[in-house]
């Protein structure tokens, strides 16, 4: 029986590798998964360098690829059909080709850029980028509230207690004010972008 288990365990371990990493990614220890994913960085770096990109581009691209992988893996319909390395590489490749395409178009004709910005998915991505910038402008306290709420899944009671608010309502109001502040910053950025 011991031998059987050992055999089974070894066999299972090989199957588990990618799947385990995905599970780790979706769990509370996702930071460890991010670190482990960096083992694939050299391949992607090589690809970017061979395709008219710089080392900084490769680092940016790899971050975005991991982010995309993370977002995809959180979807219920997500299923890994190839090896994780292949999957991550294909994400990176697509992202990079898109970037090259945009860059090329912007070099050729400015009007094309205008057309691109009318494309809803590009528009959404631009909005998200601006929103990310807006979020960076809110206070540290706001970041703490939102992180505890959205990532640590803490109740507003716990948040009020941890951040020393006088009451749950005070913490809630603070949260709404944070969103309001982010909204103002975001609208300001949108306005500047459209000018």
């Amino acid at each position: 029986m011991g031998l059987l288990f050992r055999y089974f365990a070894i066999n299972a371990k090989n199957q588990m590798k990618d799947e385990a990493l995905i599970q780790l990614l979706n769990g509370p220890d996702r930071k460890k998964a991010f670190l482990r994913l960096y083992r694939y960085f050299p391949v992607i770096k090589k690809y970017v360098l061979q395709n008219s990109g710089s080392k900084a581009d490769a680092e940016d691209l790899f971050q975005d690829s991991i982010l995309a992988l993370y977002q995809n893996s959180m979807k219920s319909e997500f299923k890994l059909t190839s090896s994780l390395e292949t999957y991550l590489f294909s994400i990176a490749k697509n992202l990079w080709l898109n970037r090259l395409r945009l860059k090329a178009k912007s070099n050729i004709q400015n009007t094309l850029i205008i057309n691109e910005t009318e494309n809803p998915s590009i528009q959404k991505e631009t909005q998200l980028t601006l929103a990310e910038r807006a979020i960076q402008l809110i206070s540290e306290q706001c970041n703490r509230i939102l992180e505890m709420f959205y990532f640590q899944k803490k109740s507003m009671e716990d948040i009020a207690h941890a951040l020393s608010y006088s009451s749950v309502n005070a913490a809630k109001t603070a949260k709404y004010k944070c969103i309001e502040k982010a909204k103002t910053e975001y609208n300001q950025l949108l306005k500047t972008e459209n000018q």
Binding site: M1, G2, F5, F8, A9, A12, M16, E19, A20, Q23, L24, N26, G27, D29, R30, K31, K32, F34, L35, R36, L37, Y38, F41, E59, F62, Q63, I66, L67, Y70, Q127, L128, A131, E132, A134, I135, Q136, L146, E147, Y150, F151, K172, T173, K175, Y176, K177, I179, E180, A182, K183, Y186, N187
Partner: protein, 705 residues
Amino acid sequence: MRPELERIEKILAYLNNEMSLSDQRLFQLDMKSDNALKNEVDQVSTLVDAFKNNIIRKEIQYAQKKYFNFQVLKKIIIALAIAAAFGMTIFLLQKTNDRQETEKSTQAEVTYDIDNETSDPSFSEQNLEVQEFIIDNSKTNVIETKEGIVIAIAPNSFNSSQKEIELKIKEALKPADIIKAGLSTTYQDKLLETSGMFEIRAFDGQSELELVKEIIAEIPLLDEEFDYQLFDGRKDSLGNIVWENPKELEFFIETYDMNTLNFYPPEYEAGLIKLGKTNLSKAQKDSIYFNASCEAQSYYQEINALNESPENIDFYDSLGDFNFRARLIENTANIPVRTDYCDRCVQPSQVRSFWNSRFNNTILATKEFEERMKFLHQTEGGQEVLNCIISYFNDNIEQIDSILYKETAWRILSQVKTRKSGRVRPNVGLNSDLRAYYNEKRRIFENEIQENSKKMVKEYQAGMRNLASQMDKLNSLNSRDNVRLNQYETNKTLDKAYETLGMKRRQNSQKTNYNYFSRVTARIRTTGWKNIDRVVAESIATRESIDFTDKKTKKNFKLEMVPITIDCSEWDAQNSAVYLMPDDQESYLKLQIQNGKVNYKLNELLEYRMIFVGFKDNKYYYQEIENINGSFVRITPTERSWAEIQSKLNKNYKGPLMEENQILAQLKYLTEKYQFDNSQVNLDMQFQQKIRPYIFNCLNLVESP
């Protein structure tokens, strides 16, 4: 709060799915008609997404930084290794030249110790401190080095006849020490990422000893993220250390006293607090947990549903709920009671079988297993998986994980910290005696739970049956009184009607038995000629006033049905009752209380006495109003003893035997129901019912409290 903030609150509630379904729909309709609101929702949603992205991006950036730091460290080590090798080559060349020159000049013989001379003194293991330990070779020794390596040495691990031997240990765990010692970090020309190196040597006097038994060393790791291996270092002819024979490292798992570990289902203790059971001792918690069972689950649920929605009960029985409930119990008593609801969750009897000191020092007595149990409790089929684990594994967490992997398709392992391998210290494990003990105890505990549960159900059913039979009696008294009252009211009204209309009442109509229950079907569907008897019967049934003119004689009979409202809203309808006693003093009419009020129409020909009885906190309340005729009465009863109420009722009652008095029967029923509701068996049953979802939660029926 400002209106803008209120708007954000609403939007967040919508986006976080915190709205009820109906509110959600309304909000969606609002969005359809209000473009500004829709845009605002989109904006807030984008901001929330952006916030989440920002956090994740920060974490990725942190991982990137950590990754690059490792890369840099690798490069430094390579650079220093090259520098050391370069330095060493020059040093060797110089030495050789010197030696040649010396040989040439002096022709004298020089002995040369490679071990001592080939290393660059600035990067030499000689730079490392030697830590010396004197140990007794005949005993078990555990030593700890300055950098925290813990070494466990079994008796006679070294081939020495002497008792006292000397251990010399060098260690280089920090990158600076590794570099200082000039230790290579390559294996077969590949760069090793190292968590450190150490050297163990043993001496008795001058001679070096060999290791004849395995010793165990626990080494602090630089970072648990990476897979480490243990290499043996061998010095080559140049004195460099060559690393070879890589072996997987094992992680030994600490065992704890079973009493300090917690194998309750994760929601159980919070559930107890939620149900008001705070400050329970471990023994009390154990008692509740170990006695929980899946028995009789299905019909408890049905009864519970009935208790929660009395409208279902009314549908079956307008006179009371209890006889229906009791009949339900009778009917379901023979139904197989175990259900899938909790059968496949981890059973308390299983946990009880291993959660004791006999299993100390086994893999079950570890934090790692404690962590896995939490998830087993939440896994459908956890019962079978736990049995499988206890039947087949030995002392290795890896084996447990492979079972969990197979049986739970990753649900569990994804959430616990998996390790390449890890076992409790050798020579403990789980021997067959303990397995047999587990299986035997499990069987005994299961039977015990079933027996306890059956006993409790039996006692509970007996209580319910008693109440049901009393309710049946009450219902029959109620119908008897209703028939009697109906006859009295009909006769009195008919007498008056015939007298007014100048008619002679037929003998047989006096004997007519107007059944109280037939009234709901007595509807007037035709106009035209009607028999006066029928008009009266209809009026009594529908409580409508009569205005009847005989077509032949043109004589008119009028009867007023006077509306009355009795307000008893301060009383629970389940524990109070309002009765009317007509002037014949032979029967009572129990009135229906609806929404804290009684609405009835009094026959102007009769005089009524109103009686209210209530039961609250094991005390009786009574109020009596003679000759009631007002249109609105508010109930203001006073507390009375049973004897006082009995004597008051006795004074005015001329009906059948006093013990067949409907009001007394009602009070007796309420008293016994109160006693049953507060009986230990009922309280236990109710509590078990409530705590059960927290214990058998492998289908995720309750959210974490």
